[in-house]
Amino acid sequence: MQRGDYLVRKMGFALATLIVVIVFNFFLFRILPGDPVKLIIHSPRMTREAQERIRTQFGLDKPVWFDEERFQDGDIIGAFDTQFTAYVRQLLRGNLGVSFSSRLDVGQLLAQRVWRTVVLLTVGQLLAIVLGMALGLIAAWRRGSRLDAALLFWGLFTWSLPTFFFGIILIILARGRLPVGGMVTPGLRPADGLTYWLDVGRHLILPTLTLAILYISEYMLIMRSSVVEVLSEDYILTAKAKGLKTLQVLRDHALKNAMLPMVTIIALTLGYTVGGAIQVETVFSWPGVGRLMYEAVQKRDYPVLQGAFLLLAISVILANLLADMLYSVLDPRVKAE
C-alpha cells in the first residue's frame, strides 16, 4: 500500500471517530435524565421569545433522530429532519448553545479560554518531551547502573502520583515564593505590557511544572526502552567500529532512530494530558478549558460541559491524525501495517 492510501485510511478513521463522538455527545445529553435543552426551555429566567428561538434552533418539536411517520409516507429525506440533524446543523455553524450559569455563548466562552489551556499544555509538554527524551537516553545508555535504577523508580513513583495531588504538593512547597493560583495578579491588565506578561509567566511556572514533571517520566520510560532496542542494532556496532565517540553514537545514531516511536506516543499521550490539564487547572485555578469544565460540573452547566468535551475530543483526534501524517513523512518505511 502506498503512502497515499495510508493517509486516506488514517483520515477515514479520524473522520469516523469524529462522527461517533458527535453522535455520542448528542445522545448522552439527550437520552440520560437531565436533558439540557429541556432544562433551558423550562428555566424561568428565559423569556418566551428566547425559549421559542431555542426550540426551533434545536428542533425540539421534532423527533429525536428519526421520523418514522414521514419515512412511511415515502419522504426518506424528510425522515431525517430531526433534533439530531438540527444539532449537527447548529454545530456546523459553531453554535454550541448558551451556558446555564453565565448566559454566555458556549462557543465564545471556549474560544476565550482555549488558548490558555494550549499555552499550559504546550509549555508543559515541550519541557517534558525534551527532558524525558534526554533522561531516557541516559538511562538506556547507563542501563543497569544505579542512575538507571533511580530513574526507573522515579518513573514508577510518578506513575502512582495523581496529577492533582502532585499539584497540591507543589503549592505547599512553593507557597509564598511563587504565585499558586490564577493566571495573573488581580489588577494587572494586558495594557500593562511586559509587566503583565511576566506576571502571567510567573503564574504559569507551577502548573506547567506539575504537568512537566509527571510526564517526563512517561517519555523517559518509552525513550529508554526504545533506545535500549536501538542500541542492540548492528548499525550501532558499526558506528562504534568506525571510531565514533560514544556521545556521537548516542546523538546521531541512537537518538534519531529511537525518536520515531516518540511521535506516536506524544500524540497518544495527548488524550491523557488533556485529563491532566483539567486537574492542574482546577488545582491552580488556571482559567482554561479544564477549569471551565470543573466549574461546569459543579454548576451542572451541561451546555458548557458538552461543548468543552467536544472541543477536547476533536483536538485530540486531530492531533493524532497529525502525528500519523508526520510519522509517514519521518519514516520512509511506512506502508500499511
Binding site: R143, G144, W159, L221, V228, L270, Q306
Partner: protein
C-alpha cells in the same frame, strides 16, 4: 511454585506486595482499627473544626469536626472496591475482545480493534467527567464507567498473544482431532494468556484507583461514601486556605501508597511472567509501566 520463588527474589515486588497487603488488612479490619465511626454524628464545638492532631485524634479533625484518621481508614474500603471491581470488569471485557479479535480475526476482529483504537483516542478523564455528571454520582456508576473504558490495553495485549499462539502446533493438533473453536480458545489458548492478563489486572487496579480519586477530587465522587479523592476535594475546597495539612496530605499519600505498592508488585510479576514482552506499539499512556522491562541485549559499552 517456581513463579512464587522467583517473585520472592525480587525485592521491589515483595515490598510492593507487602504494601498492598497492609492496605487490604486495613480495609478488612477497618471497624476495629478506626478510633471513631465516621458515620456517627458528633457534637461540634467551634474549636474542633479543623483542629490539629492531638492524642485523641492522631491526624486531627476535618471541617466538620470529625476524626480524619477514621475517615482515612474507612476510605481504604472504597478505593480498594473501586480498584478491584473495575479492574476485574476491564480484565473480563479486554480478554473477551482480545480473544475474539485475535482468534477469529477477519472483519469482526478488525472492527473490534478499530473500536479499541477509537477508545484510545478519546480523552478518558473528560469522557468520564461528562458521563458521570449527566448520569449522576454513585460508586457503582463510577466503577462501571472505569471498567467499561479501561480495557483497551488488555484487549490489545491478549490479541497480539493470541495471534501468535493460534499458529502454534498444539492448537493445530487440537483442531485436527476435531476440537471446537470454543474449546480451543478456552482450553488451549486462554491458559497461555492468563498470567499476562493477571499482571495487567494488577496494574489496572492502580489505574482505576487513581481514576476514581481524580473524579472524586473533581467533585464527582459518591456523596454517601467518603473516598480518599473526596476527602482531598473537601480538604482542598475548605481547609487549604487554613493550612490544615493533616486533613489534606494523608488521603493523598494513601493513594500514592496503595498504587505504588500495586505498580511495584505488578512490575515484578510482569518481569517473571513475560520476560520478553517488548514495547512494540502496544502501549497505553495510562499503563506505560508495562514497558519498564529488562531487555537483555548487552549495553553499548560491553558490546564494543
Amino acid at each position: 511454585m517456581k513463579a512464587l520463588k522467583q517473585f520472592l527474589r525480587k525485592p521491589m515486588g515483595v515490598v510492593g506486595a507487602a504494601m498492598l497487603l497492609c492496605v487490604v488488612l486495613v480495609a478488612v479490619f477497618a471497624p476495629w482499627l478506626a478510633p471513631y465511626d465516621p458515620k456517627q454524628r458528633v457534637d461540634v464545638k467551634p474549636e474542633d473544626i479543623l483542629a490539629p492532631p492531638d492524642a485523641q485524634h492522631l491526624l486531627g479533625r476535618d471541617d466538620a469536626g470529625k476524626d480524619v484518621l477514621s475517615q482515612l481508614i474507612y476510605g481504604t474500603r472504597i478505593s480498594l472496591t473501586v480498584g478491584f471491581v473495575a479492574s476485574f470488569m476491564s480484565m473480563f471485557i479486554g480478554t473477551t475482545v482480545g480473544l475474539v479479535a485475535g482468534y477469529y480475526g477477519g472483519r469482526v476482529g478488525n472492527l473490534l480493534m478499530r473500536f479499541v483504537d477509537f477508545l484510545m483516542v478519546i480523552p478518558d478523564l473528560p469522557l468520564m467527567l461528562v458521563i458521570i455528571s449527566v448520569w449522576g454520582r454513585g460508586l457503582w456508576k463510577i466503577i462501571l464507567v472505569i471498567g467499561v473504558l479501561y480495557w483497551t490495553y488488555t484487549a490489545r495485549l491478549v490479541r497480539s498473544q493470541v495471534l501468535s499462539i493460534k499458529e502454534r502446533q498444539f492448537v493445530t493438533r487440537a483442531r485436527a482431532i476435531g476440537a471446537s473453536n470454543l474449546r480451543i480458545i478456552v482450553r488451549h489458548i486462554l491458559p497461555q494468556v492468563v498470567p499476562l492478563i493477571l499482571v495487567q489486572a494488577v496494574l489496572d487496579i492502580s489505574a482505576s484507583i487513581i481514576a476514581e480519586s481524580s473524579l472524586a477530587f473533581l467533585g464527582l465522587g459518591d456523596p454517601t461514601l467518603v473516598s480518599w479523592g473526596m476527602m482531598l476535594n473537601f480538604a482542598f475546597e475548605r481547609a487549604f486556605s487554613r493550612q490544615a495539612w493533616w486533613f489534606l496530605l494523608p488521603p493523598g499519600f494513601a493513594i500514592v501508597f496503595v498504587s505504588l505498592g500495586l505498580i511495584m508488585a505488578g512490575n515484578a510479576l510482569e518481569e517473571i511472567v513475560n520476560p520478553r514482552l517488548k514495547s512494540h506499539h502496544l502501549f497505553d499512556p495510562r499503563r506505560m509501566v508495562s514497558l519498564i522491562l529488562p531487555m537483555p541485549p548487552e549495553p553499548l559499552e560491553e558490546r564494543v
